[in-house]
């Protein structure tokens, strides 16, 4: 099973690296959206410092949403997904490998770029570190939950907006705890509880999402 995971993971990464531009699109979108907020709410430093974690998290959410259509659609369009479903290895393992590759191409660069963006909002060092950790642990959850919605809406007309509608209610608890970690830290309570909860989300979605996504893909491909 580990061989299958490694094989599919490597395949998806190679394919993604051939079109580096698409991964960069997600990053650039993230940067642009975070720039929109100061332009919209005004550049007052105290206000921006307070809402920065929330802005970064919402931008990460939206960037993850937009990148979801690259997860299954290309393979579905050329028939590879059906072949992967027919393989004797468990389909959830293959799905998990695809989700992991998706995270490496979208969530991981986003988390690494977030501290730089956080400097634009004049966040203190400790908060930036906490924010980076919450994004690092939380962006895989975005990929995992988003995969369920992407699988449910595979091949549908208007699938992009529909999958956003389906997955945003599931993202909301993650957003609350991810963005709340920095707020709790600056209030002196420490962000550890929030980090543990996000870790719990990661474990639960890591356990359930590949299985649910595989079922949804089989339903979509019937």
């Amino acid at each position: 099973m580990i061989d299958t995971f490694a094989c599919v993971f490597q395949r998806d990464l190679s394919l993604a690296f051939r079109r580096k531009g698409e991964a960069l699109n997600t990053l650039v979108f993230f940067v642009i959206v975070t720039s929109l907020f100061p332009l919209g709410v005004g550049a007052e430093p105290n206000l921006l410092r307070e809402i920065a974690p929330g802005i970064l998290w919402v931008a990460a959410l939206l960037a993850a949403l937009l990148s979801l259509n690259r997860l299954f659609e290309p393979d579905y369009a050329d028939g590879t997904l059906e072949q992967l479903a027919l393989v004797s290895e468990p389909f959830p393992i293959i799905v998990m490998a695809k989700i992991a590759a998706h995270w490496v191409m979208t969530g991981l660069p986003l988390s690494l770029l977030a501290p730089v963006i956080a400097l634009q909002f004049d966040l203190p060092g400790g908060t930036i570190w906490l924010l980076f950790l919450t994004l690092l642990i939380g962006t895989p959850v975005l990929s995992l939950l988003g995969a369920i919605a992407a699988a449910l809406t595979l091949g549908l007309r208007g699938g992009g907006v529909l999958s956003a509608l389906l997955v945003l209610p599931l993202y909301i608890p993650l957003l609350i705890f991810g963005a709340g970690a920095a707020g709790a830290a600056s209030a002196g309570l420490g962000g550890h509880a929030h980090l543990f909860l996000i870790g719990a989300f990661l474990l639960v979605s890591g356990a359930i999402s590949p299985w649910a996504t595989a079922s949804a893909l089989r339903i979509a491909m019937d």
């Binding site: 549908l156 007309r157 699938g159 509608l165 389906l166 599931l170 608890p173 649910a212 339903i219």
Partner: protein
Amino acid sequence: MTSTSKPHEKPSNQAAASAIPPGTRWFKYASPQTFYGPAGKLAPWFAVLSALLCVAGLYVGLFLAPTDAQQGDSYRIIFIHVPAAWMSMFIYLVMAAWAAVGLVLNTRLSSMMASALAPTGAMFTFIALWTGALWGKPTWGTWWVWDARLTSELILLFLYFGFMALQAAIDDPRRADRAGAILALVGVINVPIIYYSVKWWNTLHQGASVSLKSAPTMAMIMFVGMMLVALSFWMYTIAVTLLRVRCLILERERNTDWAAQWVPGARGVQT
């Protein structure tokens, strides 16, 4: 439960006389055709029951229950708000259960029940949120606050909308059934979060006054009124769901012989 055992069949173990006759058809009413008639006969009874219970509950709530010491008479919206919130969570659980049954047993009618429940569940969620806002303004001073219970109830509304939107977007009804079932099951985790949110977080919303384990901490007459309206909403849900599932049955089975009498001219119509 009708027994249709054939005359030449013998029970395999005579010593263990079961109360259930051999050859019992457990899934008789799992067929849309068989369920269509009884659903139509049952629905009016539930509707009448719902109307009576509603009148009784509102009479207790609006006329018999005393004025609250702290909130005056504005608290009386509790008799709509709390039953609606209870129903919104309960209907989601029932919807997810039917969707799971349809997914596992591959029965069409179970998935149709899930689809029939969704609009009523969304309606009660909206009523809970709306009446909550109407109540919050005079008592808390604000229409809305982003605390745990209100936010998770709002998420529940979005989950209902997502379920209905997904089913509407898929043309093939069987694929729509199964995809909706997965979505409903993934979202069912939200219901315990709503229910326990007032215990886990210190929020502006009132804590639990009604519990299964101890006596309610509110005046008994108020509790009685709330329960009557809750039962009324439950009967209403059953009545409306039965009627709605009849419409779904006709829509999906319109090309069969038995449905042709109800949908004249459907056969041969290109859709």
